[in-house]
């Protein structure tokens, strides 16, 4: 049955990603979901043994393997750190860049089907974790990583990496959605920094009225910000295991998106692919994007204007969702699992985490990292202080098998909201709930 889950998820995810280019077409996500469900019900080809999910063995007496494989989403695959690890332990890390988070999910899904997986992989929080864990190939990190590290991780980070009450992957390079703003423009025009979604809409209009430029936009991974607004409205795609997209809270966000893109025209409709560049060129006053983009944004903006970062807007509450990636371990030999454990623990060293934060924009995931001098240097920047302050609101976006489906449905929904003023929001949200319910029922049947 686990094989079926993998095939279902893989085909669904492949189709979804391939169809993302279809932008506003409603068939895109529907077809993807259907593909996943159909395959779940019908595919049983390509037999191979399933990974068993027996408890982790005691690796304390095991000699680590001399080489491990590591699939990374960072272009240089942390080559310096890998070399440092090899010098320290004698274990060679064969690292390969696997592209973005979606590419990584594809690759891992194919790897599960073909039983050809790395020892360690950087896995995005976006989707696929449930399927990977249910396949039996993704090892729960809580059984391998030392208690000291597990306990040192800030609790908010675990929520997005815990599935079926098990810590499945280790938080590593994590981020949060933030509201970036053109500080120079705000100061020159005496504009107040918004703190709620309603205020964002009002401020966007004020920017347009005063300066003529667009007020706000969402970055290219726009479903993430929509879902962040959902969590800040106290709701989620699944509440108590039931689809809950068709609610007043979600409808309110849809209406707000329509107001920005269509009614007020303070957000360029369906132009999210170049949102970051548009903001950095001073064409848009505010941008919802990840704190991990801070270094890039500063670089792109240069001396054109001063960049400010504000907390992600509240709707009815502050329940901030997490972004970025974690380190996952896959089933292999005890020797390789031991070496993989050592590698992950090496990467989670407080100083390395703090340096990573300083050089990128990711937040520090351990208490020990926040106590380093490097992290104190990181906090000298007032914008980073805001990011640090927002950490207290890191919330409860749980891992579910429908993460991929929801991501694509929300993307499709936003495309439609911005393109079609006549869209029947209730109907669309009900359709998404039906798709989620169908998928969950199919998935539960296969488990």
């Amino acid at each position: 049955m686990k094989k079926k889950l993998v095939y279902a998820a893989a085909v669904g995810i492949f189709s979804s990603i391939a169809l993302m280019g279809c932008s506003s077409s409603e068939t895109a996500s529907t077809t993807a979901a259907t593909a996943a469900q159909t395959t779940a019900g019908g595919t049983s080809a390509a037999a191979s043994s399933e990974a068993d999910t027996t408890a982790a063995e005691d690796l304390s007496e095991v000699q680590p393997a001399s080489e491990i494989t590591f699939w990374s989403t960072k272009e240089d695959c942390f080559s310096e750190l890998c070399a440092e690890f090899e010098a320290e332990t004698g274990i060679k890390v064969n690292a390969t860049y696997m592209g973005g988070y979606d590419d990584m999910v594809n690759k891992v899904m194919a790897g599960i089907a073909g039983e050809n997986l790395p020892n360690v992989a950087q896995l995005g929080q976006r989707h696929g974790l449930a399927q990977m864990y249910d396949s039996g190939w993704l090892l729960p990190v809580e059984d391998y990583i030392s208690e000291d590290i597990l306990e040192d991780i800030l609790p908010g980070f675990w929520k997005r990496f815990t599935y079926k009450d098990t810590k499945v992957i280790l938080p590593f390079q994590n981020s949060m959605p933030m509201l970036y703003y053109n500080k120079t423009l705000f100061d020159e025009n005496s504009i107040e920094i918004p703190t709620t979604l309603d205020e964002v809409a009002a401020t966007a209009k004020e920017i347009k009225d005063k300066t003529g430029i667009y007020g706000v936009t969402l970055n290219s991974d726009y479903p993430w910000y929509f879902m962040a607004l959902m969590y800040n409205s106290g709701t989620a795609p699944l509440v108590d295991g039931q689809p809950s997209m068709n609610t007043e809270a979600v409808k309110n966000i849809c209406q707000k998106i329509q107001q920005l893109a269509v009614t007020d025209q303070t957000m360029p409709a369906n132009q999210h692919a170049t949102a970051q560049e548009d903001f950095c060129n001073g064409n848009i006053g505010m941008l919802m994007t990840s704190c991990a983009s801070y270094a890039t944004i500063q670089n792109l903006v240069g001396d054109k204007f001063e960049v400010g970062i504000a907390m992600f807007p509240e709707v009815t509450t502050m329940d901030i969702t997490m972004g970025g990636n974690g380190l996952g371990m896959f089933k292999s030999t005890p020797e390789e699992e031991k070496a993989a454990t050592m590698f992950i623990e090496f990467m989670l060293d407080p100083q390395r985490i703090a340096e990573g934060s300083l050089n990128s924009g990711y937040v520090a995931v351990t208490n020990a990292a926040t106590e380093t001098e490097t992290y104190q240097t990181y906090l000298e920047d007032p914008n980073r202080q805001v990011v640090d302050e927002q950490l207290q609101y890191l919330g409860s976006a749980a891992v579910t098998p429908v993460d991929s489906l929801v991501w694509n449905e929300v993307m499709d929904l936003i495309d439609s909201l911005e393109a079609d003023p006549e869209i029947n929001i209730d109907e669309r949200l009900a359709e998404i709930d039906t798709a989620i319910a169908d998928y969950m029922s199919e998935y539960a049947g296969n488990e």
Binding site: Y7, A10, V11, F14, S15, A18, A35, T39, A45, A46, S48, W71, T73, K74, E75, T96, Y97, M98, G99, G100, Y101, D103, N106, K107, M109, A110, A113, G114, N116, P118, G124, Q173, S175, N219, S220, T274, Q276, E277, D278, C280, N281, G282, N283, S290, A292, S293, A295, T296, N299, L300, V301, G302, K304, G323, G324, N325, S360, G361, Y362
Partner: protein
């Protein structure tokens, strides 16, 4: 003889120039953006030409990933695809066009029905097959899914159907075997379409991203399209001038190929009756 000027000709030419401009614009934008500063790519006061020409983008793009080996791998995979497609598609197409055998229509319909199947649905079975055959991280593995194309079989079948049966029967009467008729009569009469198939198969293989990505997990075996991914940071977004520079480098052989084979391409499409 000099053509007489008429308003009709002028309007026709203006429309054609406008259409050509629409088609050419993205390529020109890509080319000029490849020389721009990152901050100059998306600016409010749009200008096509860069303010300062930054040739360094090409060097940066080339050094951002092992594009040299990506280039060689793409060429290898494309050549395997071209050779296999022209060979296998033409033989299959000839059989469907000129040889009578039981179940021909059903087989042809089934083959056409395969066009409906999305490529993504076959990725896992294909991957398992590649793994069992030991083709993961090989050029043949990368080319594996582009060895035959239903569309190209259909295109060549249409061309072969236009060859008169009398010509084939004459060759048979002169003592040619079936393979000799195919080699000496059918193929020379379908040169244009064969060139079209070669070009299309080259393009398909050259532009292929998902399958080469799935079937390779080491840098030294990867292709150019995967290389573009190295210029997009998951949390920081794309580096546009470098992406445009890399895209220009990648597009160059395709454009050259199209320029040289354009005549055959158009001819092939016309003789196959597909427009």
């Amino acid at each position: 003889m000099k053509k007489k000027f008429t308003w009709k000709v002028l309007v026709r030419h203006l429309v054609l120039i406008a259409c050509a401009a629409v088609i050419l614009f993205p390529f020109l934008w890509m080319f000029f953006a490849s020389f721009k500063e990152e901050s100059e790519v998306f600016v409010e006061d749009f200008h096509l030409l860069p303010e300062t020409w930054r040739f360094q983008n090409y060097l940066d793009a080339w050094n951002a990933a092992p594009f040299g080996s990506f280039y060689i791998n793409s060429i290898k995979a494309a050549l395997i695809s071209v050779v296999c497609q022209t060979c296998f598609c033409s033989m299959a197409a000839y059989a469907f066009a000129k040889i009578e055998f039981a179940g021909k229509r059903l087989l042809f319909s089934l083959m056409l029905a395969m066009m409906i199947l999305p490529e993504e649905a076959a990725i896992i079975p294909n991957y398992l097959l590649a793994q069992k055959l030991g083709l993961v991280n090989t050029s043949f593995g990368i080319a594996m899914t582009t060895l035959v194309s239903v569309f190209n079989i259909f295109l060549l079948r249409q061309t072969f159907m236009s060859i008169p049966n009398d010509l084939i029967q004459s060759a048979r009467l002169d003592g040619c075997s079936m393979l000799q008729v195919f080699r000496h009569v059918a193929v020379p009469n379908a040169k244009g379409s064969m060139a079209t198939v070669a070009l299309l198969s080259f393009l398909t293989s050259w532009n292929n991203y998902m399958w080469p990505y799935m079937v390779t997990d080491q840098n030294q075996y990867r292709t150019l399209q995967i290389g573009l991914k190295y210029l997009i940071k998951p949390d920081a977004g794309p580096q546009w001038p470098m992406i445009m520079a890399a895209s220009t480098i990648i597009l160059l052989p395709v454009m050259l190929l199209f320029v040289f084979l354009q005549k055959y391409f158009v001819q092939g499409m016309l003789t196959s009756g597909i427009k």
